[in-house]
Symmetry: C4
Subunit: 292 residues, 4 copies
């Protein structure tokens, strides 16, 4: 199979986007404000911005590959030095909500307020993000509208494809760059008993083999390898070196192109083969599904 | 060991049935109608009919092997184009309830109504299914009666054998084609935090090795390799390629025969070595088991 | 290291006891009488006595090694033909409670009644068991007393050793043959969503490697490889063949001796190196541990 | 990369600290006093001091490497012979709370009382511990103050680094020697259904490979391999031999130095490259995080 050089893949068999969600304390506080009293849980999360991000930046510099950092507003405010480090490295910084609370249970006004606060927090660093990823990958059905209204070009939260697609909203067209649970370090590595954020600690050797297998399979299907890692997890030495192995294996293939999400969104928006359509909410019949 | 050519195995050491349950949104809505508000969860499920099914059909065409697609009525109604694709491919389409709600907690009238609705939904495509699989593999004790009453030839939900057997009901004899949790991609791959449908994401490399080992063991025991995959899971590139590896390994053995469930049921119903008996409900003594 | 021929090991580096708990429906009904309505869960359990036990007997016959079958009273009553098969094979049958309900929450009278009922159920087959294993490995602190009172020679439920030891009770001395979670197929293979009996389905290839590693480590430490398998789990083809691999690997070592629990208990009771002591209940201070 | 001989690493590429938390019954009783009635759960825990510790001491002696044993006060009181064995072996014994109850939900007075009781319990053996590890790795934000007030030199509970760092408190400076969930045998091996302390039993072969991989990665990053094992888990034969493999692999590298925590803390406190700073509690805004 060969791939169109004019399309979003630009001739590559598989496009890889390395994304790092620098959540730090935010998902734990979203699970309950009381967890601020748990010093271990808080420092467990602080490892990400303090140790994980500098290590990841060094590795990306070693390999000379671009990446995208999704940083919640509260994390940017708590760790300005980390934000400056990422900025200086030249990688992309993108919108990842302000508080890392799910939009599913918010009113649209509350979602907008959180969205707006995150923009302000990033704005104080001179950052004007090109894209957005919902906290917990849980946008509302109207999130793409919000993304478009604020002039961002892409979202990265929905899962009905493994290639980019275009969402038409009343405020303009947005590229969707789909992530997936199987390409997320959280399910492989996250462990905390309280709040319970995960229960399994997989060997990085198994994870590296799995992701390299996925890249090879995606090269056959012309897919987007959208990898999501968290510095509080993948910043640990053994996991970082496993990720290095994955990237090196992909580079050895010769037909995998690494891209920031912003560049990928631009390529998708300019791809004449992609046709925009609306995102249609699902409605469920109360008769068929009586349990709310 | 050699196997009788006149029996259900038709001389093969192991018969393999590839089945795909195209659940899409239905099991998530069955867990709670409110999940329709979760755009990520809904698109996560939509991946199955949108991307997974066409890829699976292509792979089956590459390998020239038959398969059975169990499609809930609501999925057929939401994705008519997907149903047409499966129909055109020549594979079997079978009954998988209308709503994917468990029959265990339904009255028999409600179970019948759901069963009937599913037949209507498939009937609008001209499909007259030969067999049935209960949602969640949770039939009631009277489900085989329903299957027979409506003229279907087989059920695939019970687990007290790993070869076909025959159930006698007042409305006729039904072949049971037993599935099992260990031959299901759900336990290996499904992950969603809300509703919680699974917590583990296994490497497809480990899964492929496990299933090939199972096929080899089943060849020794003359068993039925009844594999259940879900397009929203196995439609992902790395998992699809792992499944391709499993099928190719089975074909290389030379003594594994792939069959649709309909053909397998027919062979079982015509096998003089299989004797039909009733399905006897279990009753539990309140004295011995006081906790309801 | 060499081992005393007069001791319980009789010169072997490691003694292996193959035990099969033929639970069938009993643990599911113990979790709730209502699960009798779940035809899949019930047939899932019935696989053990119907298919698993005959296969296991055949494998033991192939390898010419002895084993112990722990059979709850209700299972013996439901599956008399299975009990006869085990009896004819010459393997040991032992006491595994009547209902498979935990003794921890029972009064001592209720525990005794259940214990007694199990003896009657086995007695109707002419079986006079030499030993006992508590349901869920959850005896009360007085269970060894009950075991001794009824004239049984061993219990197999406690975990503070990986060699046999002797418990002194007012009614006589009992050998304890300790099992452990890591040598149990349940944690590796059991999966049912409702009642939730497990969530992980491990590859039999990984399990076989783990158990062979354990045998080799135990040979170094002179330990008891007390393996607990369940026919509803290990009776599945791939798992049975993995177990065969484990046994064959142990036999190849040349210094592993397979024994029934009854013979092992007899050796332990006759070992002058083992000194009996009482089983001392733990008491917890309400001041130190205020939460009940 | 080369490492400063004057720093805490003393020229090694990676420093390894072998720590054994001899919890025994304490975490189970902390989960509920009623579990004292569960003879299996209690004996499951007793395996640690009875069998696990002597085996671990023998292995450390075989390999001639130092280790640190964190022993809760109640465990020291229940198992004085075990404490004497560790003392005689020359390894370090350190503070691990009295009751193994989490400090997060205690008042500071209660935390102090528990801390003090543990010191008394160890003091009766003539032990004056140099360091502390919080039960469940859950200190309060004021725990380091307590550690300093009582004249101890280090804590080992926080996770925002994988190298030692210095915490300034009003009562003096304390070295923090960070552990992590990924270097803990509990997540890999612990299983008990009630109280539920874990659900996964990983193969020791997989764990050994993972930890050796971590050591190699940490050699690249100059990190602290702070391994936490529990004698009730790692005292089992297969796991002990897996740990031996890990230590042997580290020794073969030639640039990994094993150290007690006390010696490591001393090196850290004397390292001119480490600057002490306060431990700053996290505060969470009620406006941003309304859910308590």
């Amino acid at each position: 199979m060969t791939f169109d050089k004019g399309g979003w893949r630009q001739g590559a068999a598989c496009v890889a986007a390395l994304t790092f969600d620098v959540d730090a304390e935010s998902p734990i506080l979203a699970a309950g404000r009381r967890y601020a009293d748990n010093a271990m849980a808080m420092t467990h999360q602080a490892f990400g911005p303090k140790v994980g991000v500098p290590r990841i930046l060094q590795m990306l510099d070693d390999l000379q590959q671009p990446a995208t950092f999704f940083i919640p507003g509260v994390t940017a405010e708590r760790y300005p030095h980390m934000v400056e480090q990422v900025l200086e490295s030249g990688h992309e910084i993108a919108h990842h909500s302000h508080t890392h609370r799910t939009a599913v249970n918010m009113t649209f006004d509350d979602e907008r307020a959180d969205f707006d606060r995150a923009l302000s927090a990033l704005g104080r660093f001179g950052i004007s993000p090109r894209g957005h990823r919902a906290a917990l990958w849980q946008p509302s059905w109207r999130t793409p509208l919000l993304v478009a209204e604020y002039g961002l070009k892409y979202d990265s939260s929905l899962m009905d494809a493994d290639v980019p697609y275009l969402i038409e909203t009343p405020a303009g067209t947005v590229a969707e760059l789909p992530p997936h649970w199987s390409l997320d370090d959280w399910e492989q590595y996250a462990f905390l008993p309280e709040p319970r954020i995960g229960e399994i600690i997989q060997s990085p050797l198994v994870v590296a083999d799995m992701w390299i297998h996925e890249i090879d399979a995606m090269r056959r299907h012309g897919a987007l390898f959208m990898l999501t890692c968290h510095p509080f997890l993948t910043g640990r030495a053994g996991r970082l070196e496993a990720l290095r192995t994955v990237i090196e294996a992909a580079l050895e293939r010769g037909d995998v192109r690494f891209s920031t999400c912003a560049a990928l969104a631009e390529a998708a928006l300019g791809d004449p083969g992609l046709v925009a359509g609306p995102l249609n909410p699902v409605t469920a019949s109360e008769e068929l599904y009586p349990d709310y």
